[in-house]
């Protein structure tokens, strides 16, 4: 495969930086213009090599919502090293396991790793380098197939799998996402997710690729601050998981804080009730709402749904990105006709090479050139995907397959429900049944009976538990195993 400077994805981003490019820290207002982004990335790359690290060495990047973690991630990639971006909380809790799993030669942190957790001969690097390489420092030459990063899978609380993402994967997915979102050359994203989450990384990649900017804000615990920062810094894109949109609707002043520059809301990371999407669109009619479905194993995004293009399809995950082939298949890999539920399988230039050092899971998931997503869906005659749930997230009630996601969607659509989660449990008569956990919109509501009444009789329900909150992973996804334990 041809090796060149242009194939290096970080190098490509540096090259595309323009007058509008910037990285901004919303809490302090610190702004890094395009030429400074380029020099910080190349300085960091040169600094890593001056420490004795070599191309293809792996480096754990402790990610928080700062420009520095994004620069370290891109700088390592620019130098030809393999960045392994990990949420800083996960890294500080499981440093040794992550070091062993990634075989990283170094650990980078914005603050320095506390204590002596980074053992095993790994080099600890804190902060960015201030070396100025003499002359032009080009990105490490590589081919599109070369490994660019190891991205942790999301949705798990333990040590994640590391997905092998190539420079070509990043470029292909970035370009397809840009097309699906209609991103122009004057965009600026508000990022409240770290780049260790593939959704966060995709927002960083797409906006820098277009010569735009990214604003980092770790203050989403105070959503109004983030909303005000979006206005102050002229953000055109906002991205979040369902939890974030529920917060905006019920725990922020979204209704009274104007967002004149906002062009789009991006939502991924699980299903958000169509009623909530409609509500957001009513409150901010000037911005469009894009739902995206994806997986780390497919770099980041797989399909996109624009609510304004097909309001009647609200609740669907849209159509596949233009450079992906998608099929709904049965267990033997046979394509199913429209309307039938099967596994989503995808093929294309953004499907990754597998998991690092895990041949068996790689073989199961990446087979015959198709990525087996483990997500179940059907496709309608217009090509829209309707996701029913993940493998293992179905129950068989009296022989009838019921998707936990479908039950969740039904309950979440009820008035007075803030959030909900459903788990499958054993049942003496029905074989399996569902247990429902509901967070009410306000404490005074008596919801349990109403929820029970709203369910069709064939969905045997053992309990409706009204709770104050749902357990979540660092990426904001619901942790079903914990609920399962809570039920038992």
């Amino acid at each position: 495969m041809h090796q060149s400077n242009e194939s290096n994805f970080a190098g490509c981003l540096v090259q595309r930086l323009g007058a509008r490019s910037c990285l901004i820290e919303a809490a302090t207002g610190e702004t890094l213009p395009g030429h400074d982004i380029a020099s910080r990335i190349t300085d960091f790359a040169a600094g890593l090599l001056s420490q004795g690290l070599r191309p293809r060495d792996r480096i754990l990047i402790s990610c928080s919502l700062t420009a520095a973690s994004a620069l370290a991630y891109l700088g390592a990639m620019y130098a030809g090293l393999i960045p392994v971006p990990v949420d800083e909380r996960l890294l500080s809790a499981s440093a040794e396991l992550l070091l062993a799993k990634s075989q990283a030669k170094a650990v980078w942190s914005g603050k320095g790793i506390h204590g002596s957790r980074a053992r095993g001969g790994a080099l600890e690097i804190a902060g960015l380098f201030d070396v100025h390489p003499i002359g032009i420092f080009p990105p490490a030459a590589c081919s599109g197939d070369d490994l660019a990063a190891l991205m942790p899978t999301s949705g798990s609380t333990g040590v994640p799998r590391l997905v092998m993402v190539s420079h070509g994967n990043l470029r292909a997915n970035t370009e397809a996402i840009i097309q699906s979102q209609g991103l122009g050359s004057d965009e600026r994203a508000m990022l409240i997710m770290p780049v260790s989450y593939c959704f966060g990384a995709s927002v960083l990649h797409t906006h820098l690729y277009q010569g735009g900017g990214v604003v980092f804000d770790p203050r989403f615990m105070f959503p109004d601050k983030v909303l005000h920062a979006m206005t102050r810094y002229g953000c055109t894109t906002f991205a979040g998981v369902p939890f974030v949109y529920n917060m905006l609707l019920r725990r922020s002043n979204l209704r009274s804080i104007p967002l004149p520059g906002l062009r789009r809301f991006l939502q991924a990371g699980g299903a958000l009730a169509p009623e909530k999407i409609r509500e957001i669109c009513e409150i901010v009619p000037t911005a469009e709402f894009l739902v995206m479905y994806g997986q780390t194993e497919a770099t980041a995004r797989i399909s996109c749904f624009a609510a304004k293009d097909a309001p009647e399809k609200l609740g669907s995950a849209g159509r596949p990105l233009h450079n992906l082939e998608l099929r709904i298949a049965d267990e033997d890999g046979r394509e199913l006709p429209n309307g039938e539920v099967g596994e989503i399988q995808v093929q294309g230039p953004s499907v990754c090479g597998g998991y690092s050092d895990e041949p068996e899971p790689t073989r199961r998931k990446f087979r015959d050139g198709w990525l087996r997503t483990g997500d179940f869906a059907c496709r309608d005659d217009e090509g829209y995907l309707w996701i029913k749930g993940r493998a293992g997230e179905f129950v068989k009630i009296r022989g009838l397959r019921v998707s936990l996601g479908e039950v969740e969607a039904r309950v979440a659509a009820m008035p007075g429900v803030y959030e909900c989660a459903v788990v499958g449990v054993e049942h003496p008569d029905a074989g399996e049944a569902v247990a429902i956990f509901v967070v009410p919109e306000n404490e005074t509501q008596v919801l349990a009976q109403e929820v029970r009444r709203a369910l069709p009789p064939q969905w045997t329900c053992v309990s409706v538990n009204v709770v104050r909150q749902l357990p979540r992973t660092v990426d904001g996804k619901i942790e079903r195993p914990q609920l399962q334990m809570a039920h038992e």
Partner: protein, 88 residues
């Protein structure tokens, strides 16, 4: 309830929410000092505080809770209002 009585109870809420040593919590503690105090953590913390003090916070209360001192202020003003409310 006095400020001296308030802080220990607030510390207990921090301990149960973030699984940290309550003695590390001072009036000046902010989300920057507690890694798990993110948006999800804030909601959980607010729930623990609501439970501990028998209160319900609104959007602006949550927004005002920028550090432990402000949390105590919000709780105090809520408690005062509860006490002043006429008996039904």
């Amino acid at each position: 309830m006095s400020a001296e009585e308030l802080l220990p109870k607030v510390r207990t809420a921090f301990q149960s929410t973030f699984d940290i040593d309550p003695q590390t919590i001072t009036p000046d503690t902010t989300p920057n000092d507690v890694p798990a105090w993110d948006s999800m953590g804030h909601v959980t913390l607010a729930s623990s505080l609501e439970q501990a003090f028998g209160l319900t916070f609104d959007v602006d209360d949550l927004m005002a809770m920028e550090n432990v001192r402000e949390i105590c202020k919000v709780v105090q003003s809520k408690l005062d209002r509860v006490q002043c409310a006429p008996v039904q």
